[in-house]
Amino acid sequence: MSDEFRPNIIGFACQWCAYQSADLAGTLKYEYPSTIKLIRVPCSGRVDSAFVLEALALGVDGVFVAGCPEAECHYRFGNRIAKIRTAMLRNILPEFGIESARLRFEHVSSSDAVKFVEFAKEFDKQIRKLGPTPLRGDKHE
């Protein structure tokens, strides 16, 4: 066993904003923790609650959903739906024994690589502080 806990973090990133801000961060050679892995979605509003629960149930330590800035959703208001959905999920996570802090929603514009990187670092740190997910178990490789 390695001594240091390396969290496994999945981010659902909207293809128009968040995914592109991560691309830009890479292009600018900004560094952020490699624990963060993105799954590209057309819109943050596409992210089904089931995806988030599924990831957490499978033993992911942290999940985030990243969409366009407040009034700039490419699909008018998908980001608002995503934000509300994550807020509701955060409320019920403790009932499954999962800390709400393991789930986050973030607005990131496609040009804001700095914000993406800062968020990634901060979220990684927070998940490290929380430690391994209580659901992490034999299912994990």
Partner: protein, 677 residues
């Protein structure tokens, strides 16, 4: 499945950080992977050919590229699949450069681990890809341009010259918009009608442009490629086929039948029979039944006979040399409905300026307090003073004029935005005053002068040199003195004290806004309104002439305040965008749209309320036994997937981003088989 995994070194951009050998070994061990190859540059022709050959040789039936972001070369790789006869959508890209080797270059070991997860995620999604095809629609190759100002005219001419059929719908009897009201326009102070008149004539005679003036949009159905538009052509009560625009009817129309003249911004009068302006195109008379006094008590649809048995004709009927005016006809006051099949729409409905009445502090009841648009009419040789600078109250020359800027703009009570053109047109107007009557004292009260743009700062500096007093500071109010003079209660911010000036004429630069009925039009079309109250573009930088709806474009001041050059630039951009969209016989769009399963749909309609584009609709069953299900319109669906994630029965799927595909990606990030919860 036979997935081919192609790993790119990207020179050393990827290979410096990610251990390519380890990644290849890992990929070889993944289920369903038949071929793994690497290349120094996967975006090279050689690599493209390598991929194509693998497919043609039957080694591979889906492709996973581990390289840079899909934004870079997705199209390029898709073309290799297409060239090999495979659906180009059997492709998945693992972004191991922008999202792995570059941002994790100081954690090489972990970067390689992450690259493996990204590849495994891509492979597991690839396993579930389907051989989709582009969706194609036929398109109606005609364009509707709404609004015939300089913006709409420019767009119509450009499209007409490119060979498209154009319908230009203008609500006034004549095209031309605001520009026909101006004498000169900044920055060259060239003659406005010399700019706009030839264009008005051209748009009216162009073989591919049909001008429909004095008309408004009734309703719009359908979507890009196939809009069905109903236009209401308002009743003119004059047979335009016969009218030759001589104006004889307007001169005999009695002066008691009159209203303030729209063209002169209320500074003059027009009669019931009128031709809107000397520049009018088409040059046709219009009859206004609300103003008509029914000479000889001859109302519409009646005939009257004199004692001698001859038919009585009203002065207008008598004056008309071509018989275009016939009051015995029962004209339909509702006008006529014209139906058009349209491929794309450009909205160029321009602006209106705020009314002076709103600003009680600026003595709007004084006839000598006017808006800048009214002052344009005073400056114009075709205006109520024939271009002489006179006060409306007594038609005498003023000794001093004050211009007040930002009236309703940059003011939290009305509009927070800057109307952008006021500084410049006030300088223009002040300059025209000085050129005509240098003895008139001119004051301009401004918060600050905004003159960015080509030649505009120079224009400002030159204007200052003409001896115009520019006072920096907001005006608190205007007092009307007993002799009718106006006292400006201003403030000079440069010396920090209140200033008062007494003048004979005040010009208010009232804010530019979206025209009143444009909101209604926007609602009919489904265009959004932005926080400033103008029509909203799809993206403030990348898609400035597109609305959020495919096939509907916006241009000119209805999108935000602009000067003429900016309006024209935007109109040309909109025309080009339309032309590009309609260039082929068919439109091709990515097949990433939602699909509703009739079997699973419970008909609750939650998705309908959430769809940002009204692409979903409840289809009633044909009889009582058939259930209600939701139908999705192929053309309006944009594939956001909001409906998919909101459907309680899991009845909606989204090609390219389906539930099982995303679940597989999640599972792959952990190394366990995905289970839906």
């Amino acid at each position: 499945m036979k997935a081919g995994v192609y790993v790119c070194h990207c020179g050393n951009n990827i290979s410096d950080t990610v251990d390519i050998g380890e990644l290849i070994d890992f990929a070889r061990g993944l289920e369903g992977v038949s071929v793994v190859r690497d290349h120094l540059f996967m975006c090279s022709e050689m690599a493209w050919e390598m991929i194509r050959r693998d497919i043609v040789n039957g080694l591979v039936d889906r492709v996973v590229i581990a390289a840079c972001t899909p934004k870079n070369h997705e199209k390029f790789f898709r073309s290799a699949l297409e060239a090999a006869g495979l659906s180009k959508y059997m492709l998945e890209i693992a972004n191991i450069r922008e999202q792995c080797s570059w941002p994790h270059k100081s954690e090489k070991k972990y970067a390689t681990e992450k690259a493996k997860l990204l590849v495994r995620s891509a492979v597991s999604k690839a396993a579930l890809l389907e051989p989709l095809e582009d969706i194609t629609f036929s398109i109606e190759k005609s364009v509707l341009v709404i609004g015939g100002g300089i913006g709409g005219i420019t767009a119509s001419l450009d499209l007409g010259n490119m060979g498209y059929r154009v319908y230009l719908v203008e609500k006034e009897p004549s095209v031309g918009g605001k520009l026909t009201k101006f004498d000169k326009i900044f920055p060259l102070n060239d003659c406005a009608s010399c700019v706009v008149s030839p264009m008005m004539a051209e748009v009216a005679t162009h073989p591919l442009i049909e001008l429909i003036t004095y008309a408004e949009i009734e309703d719009v159905e359908g979507s890009f490629g196939n809009f069905r538009v109903r236009v209401r052509k308002k009743q003119t009560y004059v047979d335009w086929d016969k009218c030759i625009g001589c104006g004889a009817c307007t001169t005999v129309c009695p002066s008691k039948a009159r209203v303030p003249d729209e063209f002169n911004e209320g500074l003059g009068w027009r009669t019931a029979m009128y031709i809107p302006s000397p520049h009018a195109v088409p040059r046709k008379a219009v009859h206004d039944p609300n103003v008509c006094v029914n000479c000889g008590k001859k109302t519409f649809g009646t005939k009257r006979f004199l004692r001698n048995g001859k038919e009585y004709l009203t002065p207008c009927e008598k004056a008309c040399p071509t018989g275009a005016i016939n009051r015995s006809i029962r004209w339909d006051p509702e006008g006529e409905i014209i139906e058009l099949d349209i491929g794309a729409i450009i909205v160029a409905v321009g602006y209106q300026v705020m009314d002076k009445e709103v600003f009680k502090e600026y003595a709007p009841h004084s006839p000598n307090v006017i808006t800048a648009l009214q002052f344009e009419r005073i400056l114009s040789p075709t205006g109520p003073t024939e271009g002489r600078i006179l006060k409306p109250s007594d038609m005498q020359k003023p000794n001093a004029i004050s211009f007040i800027s930002c009236v309703g703009s940059r003011d939290a009570r009305y509009h927070t935005y800057c109307s952008k053109v006021c500084c410049l047109y006030m300088l223009k107007q002040a300059r025209l005053v000085k050129e005509k009557n240098p003895e008139i004292n001119v004051y301009i009260h401004m918060i600050d002068v905004r003159a960015p743009g080509k030649d505009l700062e120079e224009y400002y500096v030159q204007t200052r040199q003409l001896g115009i007093n520019i006072i920096r500071g907001k005006v608190g109010g205007i007092e009307v003195l007993p002799d009718g003079k106006l006292r400006i209660l201003g403030f000079d911010a440069d010396i920090g004290t209140p200033v008062e000036v007494e003048v004979d004429l005040v010009v208010l630069a009232t804010a530019i806004e979206l025209p009143e009925d444009a909101r209604k039009l926007a609602r009919k079309l489904g265009i959004n309104i932005d926080s400033s109250g103008f029509l909203k573009e799809d993206h403030p930088k990348l898609r400035t002439v597109e609305s959020s709806l495919d096939g509907i474009f916006i241009a000119g001041c209805c999108q935000g305040p602009k000067d003429v050059s900016e309006t024209i630039a935007q109109a040309k951009a909109a025309a080009t965008a339309v032309a590009a969209l309609m260039a082929g016989d068919k439109v091709r769009v990515e097949p990433y749209i939602a699909e509703v399963s009739n079997e699973l749909c419970g008909g609750c309609g939650i998705c309908i309320s959430l769809c940002p584009y009204n692409a979903l609709e409840m289809a009633e069953g044909s009889d009582e036994t058939e259930k209600r299900v939701v139908k999705r319109d192929v053309r309006t669906c944009k594939g956001c997937g909001i409906c998919v994630s909101s459907c309680p029965s899991g009845a909606i799927s989204l090609s390219g981003y389906d539930d099982d595909q995303i679940s597989a990606q999640i599972g792959a990030m952990l190394g366990v088989m995905a289970v839906r919860v």
